[in-house]
């Protein structure tokens, strides 16, 4: 599965970074999310899904 992000929607809450720090970080230069790894292994799906639903503006999604 792959992480998709709508950067225009990202409002830098950084909730995703808290939930799944291996996949998400905060880019100080752009002030937006930085996707460290867009591929999600089956063992990582739960954590990444929590990160995605923790985004207050729904800027993240998962595709197959």
């Amino acid at each position: 599965m792959k992480i998709q992000v709508d950067l225009a929607t990202c409002k830098a809450y950084a909730n995703c970074m808290i939930e799944a720090p291996d996949h998400f970080d905060f880019n100080d230069t752009t002030g937006k999310v930085m996707i460290l790894k867009d591929e999600v292994e089956p063992s990582e799906v739960d954590e990444v899904k929590r990160a995605i639903s923790s985004c207050p503006v729904s800027a993240l999604s998962l595709s197959d």
């Binding site: 409002k11 830098a12 809450y13 950084a14 970074m17 905060f26 739960d46 639903s53």
Partner: protein
């Protein structure tokens, strides 16, 4: 008309949806019915005082469900179904289908109550005082916050301050009146509150603390307001953000414990088995202190929803995540994690940013930042790991 489901959820907001998403994600296939008294599909509340009010997002965009998600969750969603009674022995809800003006009953193996809270209205003032909780309220305010309108906001909590920011951005002449000596005093420390007074004043909002509205009366299309210092002023629109109270009147005498909301254990179960509650209506043990609290946070609705779902599936569950909320005011990102305390350390306060550590002895228990999302995120992790004060100081300075 009598009905039954495996799981019955009262309330169609974020908390309910969080429970459903967690169950379906885990592959749980039980039948789920949601009863909500609202007439619209579920929407997210935080944008109501911000992006929706400012017309940066429309009604479709604030919807909680992603495209196609509602259908894929396989939930029976009943709008305008208002619950009026609970029988915790029979596990049955009695209510009214407001669409058809018909009574109904609905039984289930588990009942989850997430019917939220309603705004308090300052009593005995007279005149017209608006509030903001629902989409209907927000649509009304969109019209009332017109360019040049004189707006009075009663209450400098998060709702009041966000409304003040939005109204100002919409071209209104905004005054905020707050009874306490500083804004946000219920949730934060006075020293943090006073930074907010300067912040809002710099951004063109007149904030008056230690001041109350004595009386209001309609004068044509306006409100004449008398303050407790004798000052009398006229406003076009008056909105109160003075807190909410849990919607529990329909549960009085039902047999479940009520005390500042529905009393629950750390998994969300009420005083009666198979009856659960979460979100703004529910009083849970605080994950950091164990003390009972009704936590009115978006993040709590999400996390408690996951906890209840896990418990419903018979898995061990306890709400343990660090409480977190955010607020957007005058384009600044305000964030808070953990809990507040009497002792605060303000690190490097400038006009534009602020970072605060709340401590108890030599442990950090909460952090508060303005426009420092990365530090807040890293700080949240430190709090979850025990709140090492030295490392928190290093992070925020």
């Amino acid at each position: 008309m009598s009905n039954a489901s495996d799981l019955l959820i009262i309330g169609g907001g974020l908390a309910s949806i969080s429970v459903i998403r967690e169950l379906r994600d885990a592959g749980d296939k039980r039948s789920i019915t949601v009863l909500t008294d609202e007439k619209t599909p579920p929407y997210d509340r935080p944008p109501l005082s911000k992006q929706f009010l400012l017309a940066q997002m429309d009604e479709e965009e604030i919807g909680i469900f992603r495209d196609g998600e509602m259908a894929s969750l396989d939930v029976l969603w009943k709008q305008q179904y208002r619950a009026v009674s609970l029988d915790p022995d029979e596990l049955c809800i009695g209510g009214v289908d407001d669409g058809r003006a018909e009574a109904f009953t609905w039984s289930a193996k588990d009942i989850v109550i997430a019917c939220g809270a309603r705004p308090r209205v300052p009593l005995g003032l007279g005149g017209e005082v608006l509030t903001l909780r629902t989409l209907v309220d927000a649509r009304r305010l969109r019209g009332r916050f017109s360019e040049g309108a004189k707006v009075l906001i009663i209450g400098a909590g998060f709702i009041g301050l966000e409304l003040a920011s939005s109204a100002h951005e919409m071209g209104c002449d905004v005054t905020v009146v707050e009874a306490a000596s500083a804004p946000l005093s219920r949730v934060l420390h006075d020293r943090v509150g006073s930074w907010f007074v300067d912040f809002h004043r710099r951004n063109g909002v007149d904030i008056r603390c230690g001041r109350m509205v004595q009386r209001l009366s309609r004068q044509g299309t306006q409100s004449m307001v008398e303050f407790d210092d004798g000052l009398i002023q006229t406003f076009d629109t008056v909105v109160a953000g003075v807190g909410v109270q849990p919607v529990t009147d329909w549960l009085e005498g039902s047999g479940i414990d009520l005390d500042n909301g529905i009393v629950c254990d750390g998994r969300g179960e009420t005083s009666r088995p198979h009856v659960w509650a979460l979100g703004d209506v529910a009083n849970w043990p605080h994950p950091m202190t164990g003390a009972r609290e009704r936590v009115e946070q978006w993040q709590a609705a999400v996390d408690q929803g996951r906890t209840v779902a896990q418990a419903l599936m018979g898995k061990s569950a306890e709400w343990s995540s660090i409480p977190y909320f955010w607020s957007d005011q005058h384009g600044s990102k305000i964030q808070f994690a953990g809990r507040s305390s009497k002792d605060v350390e303000l690190t490097n306060p400038t006009e534009d940013t602020l970072a605060v550590i709340f401590c108890e002895g030599d442990v950090g228990v909460g952090i508060f930042t303005v426009d420092q999302p990365r530090k807040l995120a890293l700080g949240r992790r430190l709090l979850a790991q025990g709140g090492d004060l030295r490392r928190l100081r290093q992070l925020l300075t």
